[in-house]
């Protein structure tokens, strides 16, 4: 079976202006949402706070839970439905009382008072102190940064610096858009989401490198054609692979998103968005960036990339 005909020739490079507009639009919408909401919303891993997950024997609603918890000294707190059944809820308080156990007991007592004894089960209780939250936030940021630096170095070594710059800009593009999507859909960033970001970085790069690799190979073969044409060629030649691999990866991530359960819902969401954007960016962002770089330098570089390619 073939989805993409072997002699396909879509003019991806010619549509790069459109692609840039599209990317800018996505980034701007995301940034606008981030600014409007006062920055990304962090889960308790990064913001600190207390989170208790409670399962009831029957379905109920957030308002009733709020009412039942009125007498417990929680400070300000939020009640949020968890999963599809309507019998499981997350209660999040900003307080980081060292007496977390005391707190979850007080909650259980208050809720059992309303719903009846034995009808309430604390499935998870987490408390993260403000200092730990701050440390984790810094460490998370550093991890994303270090991963990018490591990749920059590796790609510079295997290809050439300009490829590395293109790849890293494409990665930033992916992470910023995913971040924007999180803000837009009111999802919280917690520790596993950072892991998802790093996986996105890895995946998107995987995709980008495969196209770059083809560009390098084709520059050696058809050095007279001009860079734009070679890039276009290469994207088309790898298109079949790009679509198939993205397809299989999306299939599994969708399975994770649908069946994986509430605990890793945001994680799967990050992967879902990241993989779509990562695939798009390696076709429409990373490769045209090479061209942009060349044009700026007066279009004398095509041959140079070819020799660099032969070396690696």
């Amino acid at each position: 079976m073939e989805l993409i005909k072997p002699n396909i020739n879509i003019d991806f490079v010619g549509r790069r202006k459109m692609a840039i507009c599209f990317s800018l639009l996505l980034i701007l919408v995301g940034l606008a949402s981030l600014i409007f909401k006062g920055g990304p919303s962090y889960g308790i891993d990064f913001a600190g706070g207390t989170l208790v997950q409670i399962k009831f024997t029957e379905a109920t609603d957030a308002a009733a839970i709020r009412e039942a918890l009125g007498g417990v000294d929680l400070g300000s707190f939020a009640v949020q439905r968890f999963g599809e059944e309507g019998d499981e809820f997350l209660i999040r308080a900003q307080n980081t009382s060292a007496e977390l156990e005391g707190l979850s007991h007080a909650m259980t007592a208050a809720l059992e008072g309303k719903y009846g004894a034995g009808s309430v089960e604390v499935r998870r209780a987490e408390m993260v102190g403000p200092q730990v939250g701050k440390d984790l936030r810094e460490k998370g940021l550093m991890a994303v940064l270090y991963a990018m630096i490591g990749i920059l170095v590796y790609v510079s070594w295997r290809f050439e610096f300009r490829y590395a710059v293109g790849a890293v800009i494409a990665l930033l593009h992916d992470v910023v858009i995913t971040l924007g999507a999180f803000s837009l859909f009111n999802m919280e960033i917690d520790l596993p989401v950072i892991a998802a970001f790093l996986a996105i970085i890895g995946y998107s790069l995987n995709d980008t490198i495969i196209v770059y690799d083809r560009i390098r190979e084709n520059l050696g073969k058809h050095s007279k054609e001009g860079l734009a044409s070679v890039i276009n060629h290469s994207i088309n030649e790898t298109l079949s692979r790009t679509i198939l691999t993205s397809g299989t990866t999306l299939l599994v991530v969708a399975a994770l998103f649908i069946f994986g359960g509430g605990v890793i819902h945001t994680f799967a969401f990050a992967l879902l968005v990241g993989i779509v954007i990562g695939t798009y960016s390696s076709i429409f962002v990373a490769s045209p960036l090479l061209l942009f770089w060349e044009n700026r330098k007066g279009g004398q570089g095509a041959g140079k990339i070819a020799t660099a390619g032969g070396k690696a």
């Binding site: 408390m127 102190g129 200092q131 996986a199 995946y203 995987n206 495969i210 605990v263 994680f267």
Partner: protein, 532 residues
């Protein structure tokens, strides 16, 4: 060719056998011979999957430095008194300093000499003059401060380990996380409240004489005679559960501390059928206890744990046996835990709970089930897609995909890595990405076939050309995964582990094993058309 085929086939079979051996205990743990189950642990599940408690405790190391200075101060005072050096006062000042104020130059010199001889870790600082007195300052050296902190956290770790061991949790993890933090993981714990109470307690046991002539009422209002302090005696009413706190004035100077304990056991008072904790001192403690009780017959001695008075019995007679009892209003569980913390020793500094994540076993089970469903559904979709798209060659890709998951699990078990929920997600993601290598190879082979090459040549060229691309693409993902491993704790680390292991294993299966299958199939046959 035939020889290389045999070698390669042998290698793959060896890997398969090894994987089977290491994974068998995970799947059929009970029915295997003992030596087998003993040498290969089943795959270790993270706290988010099996339920349990993850705690990060912050050790107040500055307090350890302070209490070291306090005890040094005690020694300085008694030394000065012993040597008849006249001084106005000795005190601890902020900035890890001790200060001794004297009246004249000569005493100052005497103090300096004494300090240098007896406390070489204290550095003399510039002296300051105030109102005709001379204040001599001594500061702990930076190195010494580092040492004290370091020692405090190590000792805290040791003490906590003792407590956890006596608490009876299987496979607990305790490790230092940074200069002042300790990570504790207690899998499958049934009673989180009790664990918190046990681990969070400083358990500093002190015996202090009650200042009988001081009036507790005045003390509550802030009138405290010098050298004494105000503590509260805790009393629980058995019937109502009401806690009553009675003020009690004691001398600041500690008569005896819990450091000199040899043992602590729960016993039952037969008269009232109430539990108490019986303690035995070591020889040094027994001797001192003997002296103290002899000198204070008829007076009350307060038994103080973490600044709360448990009881303050009257010393009726000299006690020489070296044992005493702590009775207070506790139930049997509380008495047991008190005995545990006393046996395990006190923490060198107070600890604070900075992070606490407790997952109940039912959520963990749900997570495992959902994880398995995701793996199966995702895997089936991919397998189906590959079979439709590449037909027989797709089947080869699918065989190696199944092998890949098998190898990943085996490697996790061999490395004794922990499988977490994000770790399962890592496996799911790997399944999606692992076929990439085969897709790259197959697309290349198709291109070569289109150029009119023979099947054998097309396969050779396809593998050769795709090889570097695959390596480059995977090394970058590996970089991201390794960074994540460095940064991550708990569940996130589990993701990094499965992702890294997944990459390595999928390179092996997708390039090496799939090629082997093709070569075995082709053999010496002459094949005109390829199902790809």
């Amino acid at each position: 060719m035939a020889r290389s085929l045999k070698l390669r086939g042998g290698l793959v079979l060896l890997c398969l056998l090894l994987s089977f051996i290491s994974l068998a205990p995970t799947f059929w743990g009970g029915s295997l011979p003992g030596w087998w189950a003993r040498s290969f642990d089943p795959i270790h599940l993270g706290l988010d999957l099996q339920g349990g408690m993850h705690l990060v405790l912050g050790v107040d190391v500055d307090k350890a430095v302070e209490s070291r200075l306090d005890s040094t101060l005690d020694q300085v005072e008694s030394l000065l008194a012993e040597k008849d050096v006249i001084f106005k006062r000795a005190e601890r000042l902020p900035g890890e300093r001790l200060a001794v104020t004297v009246y004249d130059e000569d005493s100052g010199k005497a103090v300096d000499a004494l300090m240098q001889e007896n406390f070489p870790t204290l550095e003399a600082m510039t002296l300051s003059q105030e109102g005709g007195y001379i204040q001599k300052n001594y500061r702990l050296s930076d190195q010494e401060i580092v040492n004290i902190r370091d020692y405090a956290i190590r000792q805290a770790l040791e003490t906590l380990r003792n407590r956890v061991d006596q608490f009876g949790v299987s496979e607990p993890t305790l490790q230092m996380q940074s200069d002042d933090r300790i990570l504790i993981q207690l899998p499958g714990i049934q009673d989180p409240d009790r664990a918190i109470a046990l681990l969070g307690k400083t358990a500093r046991l002190e015996f202090k004489m009650v200042a009988e002539d001081a009036n507790p009422e005045d003390a509550v209002n802030g009138m405290l005679p010098p050298g004494t302090q105000l503590l509260y005696e805790r009393d629980v009413n058995r019937q109502t559960g009401e806690v009553r706190e009675t003020p009690l004035v004691v001398y600041e100077k500690t008569a005896l501390t819990g450091d000199l304990l040899a043992d602590a056991q729960v016993r039952i008072d037969t008269r009232f059928n109430e539990p108490y904790v019986g303690i035995d001192f070591n020889p040094v403690g027994a001797k001192r206890f003997d002296q103290i009780t002899a000198a204070n017959v008829g007076k009350r001695m307060a038994i103080v744990l973490d600044d709360t008075v448990y009881s303050a019995p009257v010393i009726r007679e000299r006690i020489s046996g070296g044992s005493a009892q702590i009775s207070g209003a506790f139930n049997e569980q509380e008495a047991t835990d008190l005995a545990i913390v006393l046996r395990a020793g006190s923490l060198p500094a107070p600890v604070k709970i900075l992070e606490n994540r407790t997952v109940g076993p039912s959520l963990g089970r749900d997570s495992i089930n959902q994880g398995i469903v995701s793996v199966v559904v995702g895997g089936l979709l991919v397998v189906l897609g590959m079979a439709i798209y590449y037909r027989l060659s797709g089947l080869v890709a699918n065989i190696v995909l199944v092998l890949n998951v098998f190898f990943i699990l085996a490697l996790l078990s061999l490395f004794k890595a922990t499988l977490t929920l994000p770790g399962i997600a890592g496996i799911v993601l790997t399944i999606g990405m692992a076929v990439d290598a085969n897709v790259l190879i197959f697309e290349r082979i198709r291109e070569e076939l289109r150029l009119g090459k023979t099947v054998r040549n097309a396969i050779d060229a396809g593998y050769a050309k795709a090889f570097l691309t695959i390596i480059d693409a995977n090394v970058t993902t590996l970089i991201a995964a390794l960074v994540l491993f460095q940064f991550g704790t708990g569940p996130v680390k589990g993701f990094a582990v499965t992702l890294s292991v997944g990459i390595v294993s999928s390179l092996f299966t997708a390039i090496f094993v799939s090629r082997l299958i093709f070569d075995l199939f082709l053999g010496n046959r002459h094949i005109k058309r390829m199902s790809i």
